[in-house]
Amino acid sequence: MAGMKILIVEDEPELRKSMVSYLSSEHYLCDEAADYKTALDKIESLDYDCILLDLGLPDGNGLAILRELKNNKKTEGVIIISAKDSIDDKITGLNLGADDYLSKPFHLSELGARVAAIIRRRNFEGSNLLQLNELTIDTAAKTISVHGTPVVLTRKEYDLLVYLVSNKNRVISKNAIAEHLTKDEADVFDNFDFIYAHIKNLKRKLTQAGCNDYIKTVYGMGYKFQTG
């Protein structure tokens, strides 16, 4: 994944900084644009693997950038980031060729997972295999194997593993995991014990298949997939 170029179009400097900081630690090359014009200039002169696009730019609607990309037959993966959380924007954006939609506020780990998914989709055409030492994840068939031996995971366990791997070597809070696994329904839980149960099962299945114990608990408040 290293060396992938990402353009972050976001007018709020602090948010931009956070995104750059988080994504850079995954060895993505991050470029920034704070307004419509800068973003257009950069898109025209460079090729990116993924563009994170804030729709509410001060000098023009982010949707205009999408239209520009489409007109120029650019094939960058685009994730729309919007403060509006409006369905109209989402539908318009996806119709204009955006690949994904994330509404503010979001978890950086969620952003990381979405970016990873887009880059995977763009760069592993034909082969959807994600190799991490002895662990292989087939993102097309949604199956995994350890040392070539298939390991059967539940849907939730698989989602959890991909989420952790997409944000490897970074701490992911239980909150972010809960929201990722249950979407908007995370608020009905009194606690996040169910995450603990899934993690425990996942760890057990992986180690039983002879996989290293990559999943680390961080003070009971989060988890980390540690490869290094």
């Binding site: 709020e12 602090e14 948010l15 956070s18 995104m19 900081s21 988080y22 630690s25 403060a83 509006k84 959380d85 409006s86 369905i87 509404s103 503010k104 506020p105 979001f106 978890h107 950086l108 780990s109 939730k156 970074r170 701490v171 809070s173 239980k174 909150n175 972010a176 696994l181 249950t182 979407k183 908007d184 329904e185 995370a186 608020d187 009905v188 839980f189 009194d190 014990d193 169910f194 961080v218 003070y219 009971g220 408040m221 989060g222």
Partner: protein
């Protein structure tokens, strides 16, 4: 009582009073006038007779007296005694069967020095008929006037008050959150015209203020999203720093929870303003069973975590013509409430019938206060994850779709039922 009836009541009382007084008064006055007239006629008749008798002086007066007809009687008197009297008697007229009133003038007179008694009489039958007719006509006229007044009044109340009634209907339908104009009727009546003007101004002001308030909420929520995003991402970055002590990790975790709550609250507020703005106009024929099953499947984790007994009684082929997002939010809020406020190993039942959807759950063994549960920010529980907006959103969605929403506490279960407005699926 209607305003117009109140005023007509006074008129009516006055008219009846006049009627009661005027008819007898009329009767007596006319009777008096006629009687005076008859008396004068009798006297004139007598004077005429005497004059004629004196003119034909050479002949016996009695020879011609018969020519005066039956109503005049002459009698020769022995001695003259001054006498003059007018009176009324009842007697049977010649050729009649019933006694009839007669006015009689009886007087003693000296004609050419000889004393005579002269009686002149006049039947009152004609005058009495006249009086009766007059009184009858007057009475009829009065009745005609009164009924006419009432009828005119009723017609007036329809036409005159039409602008007012129209204004009233429009006011009853007035919704501060809708944009359609009030459309008050044009009227020539000054009072109504100024009333309409005042109401129009009032409505416009109300709508403007409501719009401003809505706009403020929406803007505030939007503006809040970005700082919240900054806060949340910075916390995540803080989480990546090392060394990180357990105490610091716990602090970050607690901050996370607070940010989450705030952003949820914010999103819900945004949703409410969008509902108020009618931004979910797109409708489709929704199979409700599918919607419920989809939402329930999203909660399987939570249902398992609380070890809830889940019972679904969902009827097929129940369609509602509504917005999909709103239908999902509606079901979602009811189900998530039923899970959140449930007890461990409790019950969760969802029923769908032709025109009814019910979500039942076990929980606190006391009924909730119906007055309060649908109020915004009225928290029923101490659960920090509950922000007290879920049910008011449910209520709002029901209101937008014309559904009825009820709450009851039945057999130790909290039950929210929605009276649906099902439609036939047009596709099938």
């Amino acid at each position: 009582m209607k305003l117009l009836n109140r005023s007509i009541q006074s008129y009516l009382l006055y008219a009846i009073g006049i009627f009661i007084i005027s008819v007898p008064l009329f009767y007596f006055v006319i009777k008096q006038i006629i009687s005076l007239d008859v008396d004068r006629a009798l006297r004139l008749q007598r004077a005429e007779i005497i004059k004629r008798i004196e003119r034909i002086s050479d002949r016996d007066p009695f020879a011609i007296l018969d020519a005066f007809g039956p109503d005049i009687i002459f009698n020769r008197l022995q001695v003259y005694r001054s006498y003059d009297s007018l009176y009324t008697v009842k007697k049977i007229a010649p050729g009649g069967n019933h006694p009839v009133s007669y006015r009689i003038l009886e007087s003693n007179m000296l004609i050419r020095g000889l004393p005579y008694k002269i009686v002149v009489q006049n039947s009152l039958v004609n005058s009495q008929d006249l009086i009766r007719s007059i009184v009858l006509i007057v009475g009829l006229l009065l009745i005609l006037i009164i009924t006419g007044l009432l009828l005119i009044n009723r017609r007036l109340s329809k036409s005159l008050w039409r602008p007012f009634n129209h204004t009233l209907t429009r006011l009853e339908e007035f919704r501060v959150d809708r944009l359609e104009p009030l459309g008050l009727m044009h009227t020539d009546i000054d009072e109504f015209a100024s009333l309409n003007r005042a109401i129009d101004t009032l409505a416009q002001n109300n709508r403007r203020l409501f719009g401003l308030q809505k706009e403020f909420t929406e803007n505030a929520s939007h503006e809040m999203q970005t700082p919240l995003a900054v806060l949340q991402t910075k916390l995540e970055l803080l989480l990546q720093t090392s060394p990180l002590s357990e105490a610091q990790a716990n602090l970050i975790d607690e901050l996370f929870q607070a940010v989450q709550r705030m952003s949820r609250l914010n999103k819900t507020l945004l949703l409410l303003t969008r509902l108020d703005n009618h931004q979910f106009a797109e409708k489709e024929y929704l199979p409700l069973k599918e919607v419920i099953e989809k939402i329930i499947s999203q909660y399987d984790e939570a249902v398992k975590a609380k070890d809830l007994r889940l019972t679904l009684e969902l009827r097929d082929e129940v369609f509602c013509y509504m917005n999909r997002t709103l239908a999902e939010i509606l079901v979602n809020n009811l189900v998530s409430n039923a899970i959140r406020h449930n007890i461990v190993s409790g019950d969760l039942q969802v029923c769908l019938e032709k025109d009814l959807m019910e979500v039942k759950n076990s929980g606190q063994p006391i009924a909730l206060d119906e007055q309060k549960i649908f109020t915004r920010f009225q928290k029923i529980s101490t659960d920090p994850n509950s922000i007290g907006l879920g049910l008011s959103i449910v209520q709002k969605i029901c209101e937008l779709n014309g559904f009825e929403l009820y709450y009851r506490f039945d057999e130790h279960k909290h039950c929210f039922s929605i009276g649906l407005k099902p439609t036939e699926d047009v596709r099938s």
